[in-house]
């Protein structure tokens, strides 16, 4: 913290640094100094070059823009908060942290800010005319309005499906050169990261009539894009010249609705965010709540959390693996792996009562204990799975056609991967050895033995190989959990209606997609004040979008498949 203070003093930035309990060092700067401060912090000894998350909090008087930074070299985190008045301008930091591209658009539209200095200042999640949903002044529908569903009128023929401009009007999509500064002091150019060419020539700005390029629209309904993702591709023959991802087709307000749910019910919303790995999302929220409320989770509960988390990880990787095969045309792996997924869902149903939306991990522990039938099923599954995973590995990964389709495609080197905020298998496939289970252990992971697979090539095949090996490691961990399950309670004594004291915390888990974080602000009531869900798939999506130029259509499909996107999480 003192280092940060020194850095900021040298950069002539007025800042206040304090330590918030359960969050760590929080540094507050004014909005005019924000860019200077971020550059100074990034380039100093602190080396906080990784943007974990960028989001906003409506404090009632202003909007706090939060930059959550991390330094891998020093294994430290730093939170920078910048206060913006309602309706003011948010200056983009995309040239400092390319990972900020999409989060800034989202924050600006959901809080009603203007966006400046951004190459693509369009709305991300909503259409023209939508109000800033995350502002506290906007209330969700009341129970009466919901009951009165029949009177909601929709003129189906005049619906707008395009991404609209941000309220207040903006400059046309412009070109912001890396290193260009907005105030007088020139900012030193960072090591050049690939400028998303797709944003320099946003396909919607292409003069279609006079160009011999084909503008192709993939999605939102498309057999391959995993979920409702829309890719606008500008093609030269079959080669992609630029591409833009349009999302928001599944924006359902998980973050906003969490502000009107009790703490034990927020899990129902998070389950439906990243819907194939619900346990991890619930766990991130539970961790954040437990940090604020100071709840101690019993050991057995932690083991159960790990057990179901790893089962969920295998299920999620299977849901990724099957469509990965389908994307490249192989129908077999999808069905063979779904046999295993059915077994896992059967086990999860046995324990939690639900196949997909568990609401099982709550602040304090888990809802119910493991059953004896489930134990037997898990053991049987582990024996079966050991054989199946090798078979499926050989079937798809060992196939020469698949290798020719995936090797050398969509290569992310270390700097690009870190610059775009990638985490999880996407980051480990590019050679960065970072796994939250091992490096910031939570639940019972510090007691379990497992390896973290890392690949060097950074291409699609490397990411696939990393995920396959993760499946094997998960099976190993499940066996340890089952055999070493300690006695004890499955939950701590927590009030039925939990009212944690006012505070702020960040809970992160290693979900199958990457670092799934929940930044929770509580105000002492029975609902969260602000719950921010850090979606690893959003960062993977914008990184994938930047890699599109130069690929063929078939490669684009395979690349997006390898980034393992779940649109429920991206859109929230």
């Amino acid at each position: 913290m003192t280092v940060a203070r020194g850095v900021l003093e040298r950069a002539a930035v007025a800042a206040s640094i304090e330590t918030v309990e359960s969050l760590g060092a929080v540094c507050r700067v004014s909005s005019s100094d924000a860019r200077k401060a971020l550059v100074a912090l990034r380039d100093s000894d602190l080396a906080v070059g990784f943007l974990v998350d960028l989001f906003g909090i409506d404090t009632g008087e202003a909007v706090d823009i939060v930059y959550h930074l991390r330094s891998f070299a020093r294994d430290e985190e730093l939170v920078v908060k910048v206060e913006h008045g309602y309706g003011s301008t948010l200056e983009s930091v995309w040239d400092i942290f390319p990972a900020a591209l999409m989060p800034e658009r989202e924050t600006a539209e959901l809080f009603g800010l203007e966006l400046a200095g951004h190459p693509n200042p369009k709305r991300l999640l909503t259409t023209d005319g939508c109000p800033p949903y995350l502002r506290k002044s906007l209330v969700v529908r009341s129970a009466e309005e919901v009951r009165d569903r029949a009177s909601q009128h929709v003129d189906a023929t005049s619906l707008d499906r395009t991404a609209g401009s941000l309220a207040g009007g903006f400059a046309e999509p412009g070109v912001a050169e890396p290193g260009a500064s907005l105030d007088a002091t020139p900012i030193p150019a960072p090591k050049p990261l690939p400028v998303p060419r797709g944003l320099k020539r946003a396909p919607s700005g292409v003069d279609i009539e006079n160009s011999d390029r084909l503008v192709l629209n993939m999605g939102p309904q498309h057999p391959s894009t995993h979920g409702v993702l829309r890719l606008i591709l500008e093609l030269d023959g079959e080669e992609i010249v630029s591409g833009e991802a349009v999302i928001g087709y599944l924006h359902r307000g998980i973050e906003k609705l969490a502000e009107s749910r009790r703490y034990s019910a927020v899990g129902t919303l998070l389950d439906r965010g990243d819907y194939v790995s619900g346990i991890h999302a619930e766990l991130a929220f539970a961790l954040a709540t437990e940090k604020i409320a100071g709840i101690e989770v019993p050991r057995r509960a932690n083991y159960l959390r790990c057990l179901l988390g790893e089962l969920n990880r295998i299920a999620s990787h299977i849901t990724w693996y099957g469509p990965m095969g389908l994307d490249s045309g192989a129908m077999g792996p999808f069905l063979y792996t779904f046999r295993d997924r059915e077994t896992i869902l059967d086990i999860l149903e046995d324990i939690t009562g639900q196949r997909m939306m568990f609401n099982y991990v709550r602040p304090g522990g888990v809802v119910n204990d493991i059953t004896t039938t489930a134990e037997a099923k898990i053991r049987a599954f582990l024996d079966e799975f050991a054989v199946h995973v090798d078979e499926n590995d050989e079937l798809l990964m060992g196939n020469e056609i698949f290798q020719a389709r995936t090797q050398g495609i969509g290569v992310f080197d270390r700097e690009t991967a870190l610059g775009f905020g990638l985490t999880g298998a996407c980051l480990r496939g590019s050679g960065v050895d970072w796994d939250i289970r091992r490096d910031r252990p939570y639940a019972a992971y510090d007691e379990l033995e497992f390896d973290v697979p890392v690949a060097e090539e950074g291409d699609v095949y490397a990411r696939c190989a990393v995920r396959l090996e993760e499946m094997r490691q998960s099976a190993r961990m499940i066996r340890q959990c089952i055999e070493g399950l300690p006695e004890g309670e499955h939950t701590a004594k927590v009030a039925k209606v939990l009212r944690p004291p006012a505070g702020e915390a960040y809970g992160a888990v290693e979900s199958p997609r990457g670092e799934l974080g929940v930044h929770l602000v509580s105000d002492g009531t029975d609902s969260p004040y602000r719950m921010r869900y850090r979606p690893p798939a959003l960062y993977a999506l914008q990184a994938g979008e930047a890699m599109l130029p130069g690929l063929l259509i078939a490669d684009a499909v395979v690349l997006m498949g390898s980034m393992d996107l779940i649109l429920g999480e991206v859109d929230r």
């Binding site: 084909l214 057999p223 490249s328 045309g329 192989a330 129908m331 077999g332 056609i401 020719a404 389709r405």
Partner: protein
């Protein structure tokens, strides 16, 4: 009988066979894929789902035939016809037995290739006329694919022509009678490189996985047939399966002795010859469908590169080798 009546009956037989094949093959595809994928496939509609394709076709007959406003109407209407008719014509030269050949001409193989090379034109017309970028890309892929592989396919069939001494399919079947090395039937399949080259080139020509780029479902929605509904789609769908049958039948004719039964003289089997031919063809089709359910799809530039850089030189080389071996054999043993 009246020659016109005979001609009409023959035509109707070919048409009937084509429709029958379509029905059986679509059902067979679903069942083979299902069993390969640890599922069951159609079960409810008829014993083991046997009537499923019949219901599918009847349903397609009664669907609304949508012609989008912006399509090229003439081409949109003609394209399925251009795809369907050559497929039907190619049935004319297949020998089902010594006498059951609709068109027994000395250039049967050439006729087959000539007629089948019209199909890419139909697919291109379908893709272009649909006024849909996805269909267009599918059509371009097909043109590239089929133009690239027509030549290797023909070249791979040339060793067979050289070994049989004729282009007539009936002659080729006749040349595969008898045995050599005392027990092995004199099938041209033992000329393995020719068989392999022909099979790969033919898989690509008939647009089956791993080369089904034109209809790559996960990439191109439904490829060139995206805008087609009802019976126009039915025709395109039927023609695709018909092409697979034709390819398998040609492979059987050229390499596996056609309607002949090994080790049994041709005279004794005339009355079961068509059944033998169909059984052999369906074994080939089963093999093609099994590949379809397993392998991933190759990328278009990789496929074109393989065609021009690998298959074409290999086919050329093998033609030369086969010719050389035949001449040497004739010099040593005397003309067969």
């Amino acid at each position: 009988m009246n020659a016109w009546l005979i001609a009409v009956l023959r035509f109707l037989a070919a048409l009937g066979l084509m429709l029958f094949n379509g029905v059986v093959m679509i059902y067979m595809l679903r069942k083979v894929l299902a069993r390969l994928h640890v599922r069951l496939g159609p079960m409810d509609n008829g014993p083991h789902g046997m009537f499923q394709t019949v219901f599918d076709v009847l349903k397609l007959l009664t669907k609304e035939d949508v012609t989008p406003r912006a399509v090229d109407k003439a081409l949109f209407f003609l394209a399925p016809v251009i795809v369907f008719v050559p497929s039907l014509m190619a049935y004319m030269v297949l020998p089902f037995s010594r006498t059951w050949v609709i068109l027994d001409v000395p250039y049967g193989l050439l006729f087959y290739f000539a007629v089948m090379s019209v199909v890419p034109l139909g697919i291109l017309a379908a893709g272009w006329a649909s006024n849909n970028k996805w269909s267009f890309i599918g059509a371009m892929r097909i043109v590239g694919q089929q133009v690239t592989y027509e030549v290797p396919m023909l070249l791979a069939a040339l060793p067979v022509v050289m070994m049989a001494g004729s282009m007539s399919l009936s002659d080729i079947v006749r040349a595969q009678s008898g045995t050599f090395l005392w027990i092995l039937p004199r099938w041209f399949a033992f000329n393995v490189p020719a068989l392999v080259l022909f099979f790969i080139a033919g898989l690509i020509e008939s647009g089956q996985t791993p080369f089904d780029l034109a209809e790559a479902e996960s990439e191109l929605v439904a490829g060139f047939s995206t805008e087609y509904s009802a019976m126009k789609f039915g025709l395109l769908y039927l023609a695709e399966f018909s092409n697979v049958f034709l390819f398998s039948a040609l492979t059987v004719t050229l390499f596996f002795g056609g309607w002949q039964v090994p080790w049994v003289s041709a005279d004794h089997v005339q009355w079961v010859a068509p059944i033998v031919f169909m059984v052999k063809t369906y074994i080939g089709i089963f093999f093609i469908f099994a590949i379809r359910g397993t392998l991933p799809r190759i990328r278009v530039d990789q496929m074109l590169a393989t065609g021009w850089k690998v298959l074409l030189p290999a086919a050329l080389a093998w033609v030369m080798v086969t010719g050389f071996v035949i001449k040497v054999g004739q010099a040593l043993v005397g003309p067969r």
